[in-house]
Symmetry: C2
Subunit: 278 residues, 2 copies
Amino acid sequence: MKSIAVFGLGLIGASIAKAVKQNSDIKVIGWNRSIGVAEQALKDGTIDCIWDKQSPLCADLAIIAFPPDATVAFLQENGGRFSKETVVTDVCGVKRHIVLECEKICAQHGLTFIGGHPMAGKEKGGYANADAGLFVGASYIITPTEHTPERAVFVMQEFIRILKAGRVTVSTPEKHDRIIAYTSQLPHVLAGAYVKSPTCRERKGFSAGSFMDVSRVAAADENLWSELFLYNGENLCREIDTLIANLTAYRDAIREGNKEKLYAIIKEGRLLKEADLR
Amino acid sequence: MKSIAVFGLGLIGASIAKAVKQNSDIKVIGWNRSIGVAEQALKDGTIDCIWDKQSPLCADLAIIAFPPDATVAFLQENGGRFSKETVVTDVCGVKRHIVLECEKICAQHGLTFIGGHPMAGKEKGGYANADAGLFVGASYIITPTEHTPERAVFVMQEFIRILKAGRVTVSTPEKHDRIIAYTSQLPHVLAGAYVKSPTCRERKGFSAGSFMDVSRVAAADENLWSELFLYNGENLCREIDTLIANLTAYRDAIREGNKEKLYAIIKEGRLLKEADLR
């Protein structure tokens, strides 16, 4: 791999660019909607050059690091200028919608698409929070389909190795969306719902680690997360319903003052967590 | 202050003993139901001597570091052997029940009681996880009532300073229980309810920080937490209901595919979290 293009220099895109620059000799071409950020990235050495949107793009791997709708729109607008050898990937937290749309567009231009989702992030986004070490030890999910040539998987594996990620998880887009609804989207729903209690305003001096943990990601960007929630609506609604049912079981046992039942419910949670840690 | 007694050498009790030994010249008298742990603590220098349950206790401050029911039972059984000058405190996560019961018992013996709740912990309890630095920077709540002499507040303030806690929060038992239901007990309910989704078993390779955060305290000890939940039942049920209502608002907006409504709900959460951080 000689060159990588990164479109979108927010937290994920710029962290990818920084990691590739730090860990390899690969040339990093960058682009950002606000040109000021791209210029800053060039000055910082986060990227080697800024892509001129009017010219052809020649890169082994093109990473589109936008939210879902912007990812599809960007590929639609610019895919025609990518060289035929380019493997195109994204970083979105939903995969069925993205893979369906992006495979379609890529097929029109003779390009290869493979969905990607690095399992890393921070509660604060943007170029200023980018970090070459963001992916170290993390899982990086790729979602090849029956249309994906093996070469695209190899290119992604090499790229993920350069990021020093901890593992490559290969999944179907369907399985990805089903599990991610639980591991990532539900905690974001939860954090937002949690801080809406009126009691939150009185918590200073009365809180410790467990408050901070649950509320950490409550400041989710509504532009990104409204798209992620809606493109994975049925999976996420099912997880919210499951959580509500489980919360209700605690509440009912507490309301009834049923110590035996409550004891069993808490113990079940402990055993599941301990099994998860093993 | 010349001597402190710590009854119960689990995570909280032994961390208190270690902190007092590390940060002062105060003599630490220790006692534990399983004598083996007390002997280990003596060997480790966590305590200076083991209290002989048959002898009178002479200490400036006696810290009962058990769950609620065991705290009340211990005081009932042993309070009569405490010297009249002893200020007695506890470390329980509920205060109305504890303060009511312990004030009553202490009054019978001419002792002074003041409720305490250090806002620090770990997801794993026990002597083996005790740490002299556990309280550094944390809040330590005390709940004096109309029956509490000022001297007891001063003794607690000195003790809390020795632990290097970050702040003393003075509260009524009622306010404590109302806010703690939200900041501490609800996250424990939530963590347990969260890991009960069947999807949890498939999460490896598909999870990152937000999964770990929400599930961190899911392995709560059912003996302790069933008592805490039940002694604060009405506050905790109210918070669970509020959370369920807020989760339902997300679910309904997602199910309706109502992007505008969902956007507003997520944004509201972000603004509340940002206000909390300021």
